[in-house]
Amino acid sequence: MAGELSSHKVRGVTVRARRGGSGDPLLFLHGANGLPVWLPVFDLLSQHFEVIVPEHPGFGASDNPPWMRNIGDLAMYYLDFIEAFHYPVHLVGQSLGGWAAAELAVRNCTRLKSLTLLAPAGIRIKGMLPGDNFIWDAEEAVRNLYHDQSIADRILAMPMSEEDADLALTTRYAATKLGWEPRWFNPSLERWLHRINVRTLIVWGKNDKLFPVEYAKRWGDGIPASRVEIVPDCGHVPAVEKPDVTAKAIVRQYAETR
């Protein structure tokens, strides 16, 4: 069944992953809240791709190797990871995952077919502070991610098992390790964005309360073959809040690479 959990071992590190569909491989790197459930957007994408959604090392139930200390380590890990595929991959990253994807791409694009950054962390515009999702309480942290509060209501109403709560806590620790300081960015990343030489799509919710939508243009300016898509009535997670728009934009870019 699409989205069932499997485990993948790369260079001695075992991570969990969800996968589904068939076609060219699409690697989706999740955000700070960890491995999502099999989302509607994955169903839409799996009509065109083999979608693989790994859980980052250190997050949830994946291995936490001691060398995993910063975002650069995560990017290098995923370079190892995509070498295991026979074909270059379409790389998609959400927020923290988008940051890791960009760090990977500035290092080496040879195994990438395209890049999609969904409201990525990773760069900083002075005077344009992100929201402080470490000081937000549990409810604020959910509400501030979505423009449509009925989505937040649904998420907040979902019961959580003790086991899932423990995994969420592990994920929160791992995200803190990577993003607390400097807060959600790498001071060096922006100056190397010109190294990204594959088609790149940048998608941003117009009502993002974590990273203001102004960041989208800055990413677009930095990456040569890029296109920016601003999604109206949408918060920080277009893949969840606007799955149709998000999938359509990714598929459109895919068509352009063929």
């Binding site: 309480d137 806590l169 620790y173 803190t176 607390w180 300081e181 807060r183």
Partner: protein, 380 residues
């Protein structure tokens, strides 16, 4: 017993209505609520109280470090310690403590303590802490590395005090090509190191290690927790193969003494309740940022928290009931303190005799009564 007079130096003129419009009296509380003229008066009162404690016969006077908060006005406690050195003659001066993970060069802490130790001719007691979780919001230091940075900074500081310099320190977080303190500490091998803690098994095991045997102080905890943690330390020492001495064990508590129980309650109420509800209370996300505690203790904390439900204000009676604070007539206070001493074998009592909004006149009377009616009965 050994008696310490400890001060947090709270900002008492705080507008509490304004305070509760914000998440906490920490980090996000606008500093426009701080009036420098009133603040200067606060410093003067508090330093006078610390100096007076020497005259009253306390063994140790103590200060500590907190950042960006009305809870305590000492982001740089060593500045206060330097002032106290000049105004006292024999009393020990404890800085309990400096928050080691929060600095980017721990050698600075080693240097400052060494200076104070020389200036005071060996009257300094140091304390090493990690800071409250709020401090990681205030400084930007990543709480995920809090434990690692603490261990490494500790090693660096103790080596700086004891190893002939210059030497190189090679760590994960701290790398110093030259470590070579001028001045070296006055005391040999180095000033005492106390470990104040809310109590965690990792900290207890580390402090009790025979290589360290650091005096351990349980802070802001009810009497059952104090007893539990101190007995854990004692057990840990036994497992290491030695019997821990009474001066390795201590606890810190706000105390108020008046001639009768009723009067003590009446006078202490506003100060005690403000300390816990207005100054100290902070949301969970600030108090325990991810990584500040180990993952396993955080998982337990989350479960307990889920059972407890929403936080509410603590009344003086609740705080007394749990033994988090000690309030009453001289006899009540003597009985309460000696009971916990007898139960734990601890000999190191750190008192907070000014707390929260407690005004100067009451703080002074409290100090005097404690010194004349309680201390002599509990001295060894």
């Amino acid at each position: 017993m050994q008696f310490t007079f400890f001060h947090l130096m709270p900002y008492r003129p705080l507008d509490m209505t304004e305070r509760h419009k914000h998440r906490a009296a920490w980090v996000v509380l606008p500093n426009s609520l701080y009036d420098p003229k009133k603040g200067a008066d606060e410093y003067q009162s508090y330093i006078d109280q610390l100096v007076y404690a020497e005259k009253l016969g306390f063994d140790v006077i103590a200060v500590n470090e907190h950042h960006q908060t009305a809870y305590g006005l000492m982001p740089a406690p060593n500045l206060i310690a330097a002032n106290l050195i000049a105004r006292t003659s024999t009393v020990k001066i404890a800085i309990v403590g400096r928050a080691l993970p929060l600095v980017n060069n721990p050698v600075n802490i080693a240097e400052e303590f060494a200076m104070l130790d020389n200036l005071s001719r060996g009257r300094i007691i140091t304390g090493f802490v990690r800071g409250i979780g709020n401090e990681y919001h205030a400084t930007g230091i990543n709480p995920y590395w809090s434990h690692e940075r603490f261990q490494e900074a500790h090693d660096l500081i103790v080596q700086a005090w004891t190893r002939p310099g210059p030497f190189a320190f090679e760590g994960e977080h701290f790398n110093n090509r030259y470590v070579n303190l001028w001045p070296r500490p006055y005391q040999t091998p180095h000033p005492p190191i106390w470990i104040p803690s809310m109590g965690s098994s990792e900290t207890i095991e580390w402090a009790a290690d025979p290589a360290r045997k650091y005096p351990f102080l349980v802070t802001f905890s009810g009497r059952d927790l104090v007893a539990r943690y101190l007995n854990l330390y004692r057990e840990q020492a036994k497992q290491f193969g030695y019997e821990c001495s009474p001066n390795q064990l201590g606890w810190a508590s706000p105390v108020y003494v008046a001639d009768t129980d009723a009067r003590a309650r009446e006078e202490a109420r506003a100060g005690m309740e403000s300390l816990f509800n207005d100054y100290l209370a902070v949301p969970f996300q600030m108090l325990l940022p991810p990584g500040y505690t180990s993952l396993s203790s955080m998982k337990n904390t989350m479960r307990i928290r889920k059972q407890l439900g929403a936080q509410k204000r603590h009344s003086l009676e609740e705080l007394m009931e749990s033994g988090t604070v000690v309030v009453g007539s001289p006899k009540t206070v003597r009985d309460e303190l000696s009971a916990l001493r007898d139960k734990t074998g601890a000999s190191n009592l750190v008192t907070m005799l000014q707390f929260g909004v407690l005004p100067d006149d009451l703080a002074k009377r409290n100090m005097e009564m404690f010194a004349s009616e309680v201390m002599p009965h509990l001295k060894d």
